[in-house]
């Protein structure tokens, strides 16, 4: 917007570990990425790869104990000054003025993330009253305006309804209304459409695309669905076992995937657009988080594994301008 060069979010070498009885789970294990202003970054990966924890870490919502941000920084640029979200006290004043206000989050399960004993309107108004210091009457008008903006019919009536009175798609719309009510500059959407049917998913994605343009919000879009990523993201990072294995623009990721894991994901999904006689799955399963391989995390499942992969972790290296992959296949050259 004002400064094209500074990203809205700059995550550097972030480590989030969970300490459980005698074990350490490295949920996020040294990741770095940036989200440019008004852009959408897609974060893809399978369950347990650390994509949700990354989102929670930004919001200061990693439950501690057992979780802890071990090292690294999450630089959030507001008014030209960077704030390191990783350093803020999770219940302190500063994060509370950012969370839900400048950075908002949408969760996967609209049923469990809305409070069942308060009306939809009450829950939207709560954020508006807290952050924008509006009076109750104005906040209510604002809640109605937001519900209308996300396409909920009869918002004057819906504002007084409880979450159980709304369908799944409507609840997710209400969540989005709540998240956008304070006009955040960054929205973290964690699998926002996974629990929805495809026709409802299409409505919600369309809505998010539309709102992105109107509110100038940058989005970190977390999902396991490559189809959704292709439709929503500008840039993509692929995560595996707490690490980023590949990062590129959405076109590069889909047309020229470099990391064997990304390639494996592309080959294992059936697509409506193409006919595949047989799917090519990635062999094996994601390793136990307690027994992560010492070298490259993907080595046991990788068709191109070499000697070095077992012993040394590859770093993210550029394979072409703006496209990085963490794989020895490319570092060797």
């Amino acid at each position: 917007m004002m400064n094209g060069a500074t990203p809205i979010l700059d995550v550097r070498d972030l480590h989030v570990y969970f300490h459980t009885e005698g074990h350490v789970v490295r949920a996020v294990d040294g990741i770095s990425y940036r989200i440019e202003r008004e852009k959408t970054l897609g974060v893809v990966g399978e369950s347990g790869c650390g994509k949700t924890v990354t989102g929670l870490a930004i919001m200061g919502l990693v439950q501690s104990p057992p979780g802890r941000i071990e090292s690294g920084s999450i630089l959030y640029h507001r008014d030209g000054r960077p704030t390191d979200l990783a350093r803020l006290r999770p219940k302190g004043r500063e994060i509370r003025s950012i969370r839900g206000n400048e950075i908002a989050m949408i969760f996967q399960e609209p049923m469990t993330s809305l409070n069942p004993v308060y009306t939809i309107g009450h829950q939207i108004m709560e954020a508006v009253i807290l952050h924008q210091k509006l009076r109750k009457k104005k906040a209510r008008a604002e809640a109605i305006r937001m519900l209308r903006a996300v396409g909920i019919p009869l918002p004057e009536q819906r504002v007084d309804e409880y979450p159980h009175q709304l369908s799944g798609g409507m609840r997710q719309r209400a969540m989005i209304a709540m998240a956008l009510s304070c006009n955040p500059s960054l929205l973290i959407a964690d699998e926002p459409t996974t629990a929805l049917d495809v026709t409802i998913q299409a409505q919600v994605l369309e809505l998010m695309n539309d709102l992105r343009g109107r509110f100038n919000t940058a989005i970190q879009f977390i999902t396991h669905d490559l189809g959704v990523i292709a439709n929503m993201a500008d840039d993509v990072v692929v995560m595996y076992l707490g690490k980023i294995v590949e990062a590129a623009s959405v076109k590069e990721i889909f047309h020229a995937p470099k990391h064997p894991y990304t390639q494996g994901l592309m080959n294992s999904i059936p697509s409506l657009a193409m006919r595949k006689e047989r799917l090519e799955p990635i062999k094996g399963v994601v390793p136990d988080p307690f027994e992560v391989p010492t070298g490259c995390g993907f080595e046991p499942r990788c068709p191109h594994a070499m000697g070095i992969c077992k012993s040394k972790v590859p770093g993210l290296a550029a394979v072409s301008p703006g496209h990085t992959a963490a794989c020895w296949l490319y570092e060797m050259r």
Binding site: V198, G227, S268, A273
Partner: protein, 354 residues
């Protein structure tokens, strides 16, 4: 190819209503029309996909066919090979009316794989006991033979024989689904109803299980009714696809035909809503307004008309019939023959608009 195969299962006018009771007298106030008169057939060795959004009745349809829930009305004709008398290749039985003894015998021919690999395996039983249970119930294998038979089954689904003595919690989701498949295979069934077998799995594991189901089909000559909400998966695995909406089949056709030449507006919208994993694939989404109506009180006429972009006056008045438009392409729409609906492009990219 399909013409030569024999029909294994034919469902005619199948209905399943769940009564809604109200008041202190628990009087029936209405019915949830979960399955509201469906007709379909499955040929031997074929995979029929059944798709639809949540609440459309696809799972209930599968369970009613197996008679895990009692049908309200309709016929389920199944050609059982195991029950064949002398000189017969198979015997036709109406599953909907089979007395309990016959039903038990029929269960050897009709099995199911469930969606949730976590809740469908008894956590207190070892894998060996889980897979052997159907053998014991149906007195199929002798005690001595059971162990080796279970080992063979584990091998067939890609697990190791020493997994027999372990418990379900020791396995990942994909492995548990393999255990569920081994259990379904134990009685050498002719028909397996796969109820969302891969939707709880990660994509890389999903592909493994889909490939396994395909190879088992070839190896054992299985017939699948594949129930799923994921159109890409259904398109991949099925020879023919049936689309359900509010308890009715709105369209049924061979997979290629259904996607290349849809005849029902709901199919068109459903297909266009699926996000394609290709950033250059420009699909003009047809956005449906609103949600699926309640099956307790479905709309008049065609159930889809309040959300349909092509609805005319007749659609709200009269329920359309389930008509064969040739080549076994069935659709339930008043305007099926006049509409020119958009297909999904099967290959290639749209011009680079972005």
């Amino acid at each position: 190819m399909i013409e030569l195969a024999e029909t294994l299962l034919e469902v005619k006018g199948l209905k399943k209503y769940f009564p809604v009771r109200k008041g202190i007298l628990r009087r029936v106030a209405g019915n949830v029309k979960a399955v509201d008169g469906i007709d379909l057939f499955i040929n031997e060795g074929e995979t029929l996909g059944l798709v639809g959004e949540s609440g459309c009745g696809k799972t209930t349809a599968g369970r009613t066919i197996l008679r895990l829930v009692e049908p309200t009305e309709g016929e389920i004709v199944f050609r059982s090979r195991k029950l064949a008398g002398d000189g017969e290749a198979a015997r036709e039985v109406d599953v909907a009316k089979a007395p309990s003894k016959l039903m038990k015998a029929l269960r050897r021919d009709m099995q199911i794989i469930f969606q949730d690999p976590f809740s469908s395996l008894n956590p207190r039983m070892t894998v060996g006991a889980i897979i052997a249970e159907p053998l014991i119930v149906h007195r199929v294998a002798k005690r001595r033979e059971r162990g080796s038979y279970v080992r063979e089954l584990l091998d067939a689904v890609g697990l190791k024989p020493d997994h027999m003595s372990r418990y379900p919690h020791e396995f990942s989701g994909g492995q548990r689904q393999r255990i569920g498949i081994a259990r379904a295979l134990a009685l050498e069934p002719q028909l397996i109803i796969c109820d969302e077998p891969v939707s709880a799995l990660d994509v890389s594991i999903q592909a493994q299980v889909l490939n396994l189901l395909e190879s088992l089909q070839g190896e054992f000559g299985l017939t699948y009714l594949f129930i799923a909400h994921d159109l890409s998966v259904v398109k991949h695995i099925s020879e023919r696809v049936a689309v359900m909406y509010l308890g009715k089949i709105v369209e049924l056709a061979e997979t290629e035909t259904l996607f290349a030449n849809p005849r029902h507006p709901y199919t068109e919208a459903l297909v266009s809503a699926v996000p394609v994993p290709d950033p250059d694939f420009a699909v003009e989404r047809i956005l449906l307004e609103g949600d699926v109506p309640s099956p307790v009180d479905p709309p008049s006429g065609c159930y889809f008309h309040p959300r349909c972009h092509y609805a005319k006056e007749i659609c709200s008045r009269e329920a359309p019939a389930y008509v064969d438009y040739g080549d076994k392409h069935f659709a339930t729409c008043h305007r099926a023959s006049e509409l020119n609906l958009r297909p999904i492009r099967s290959e290639g990219h749209a011009d680079d608009g972005a």
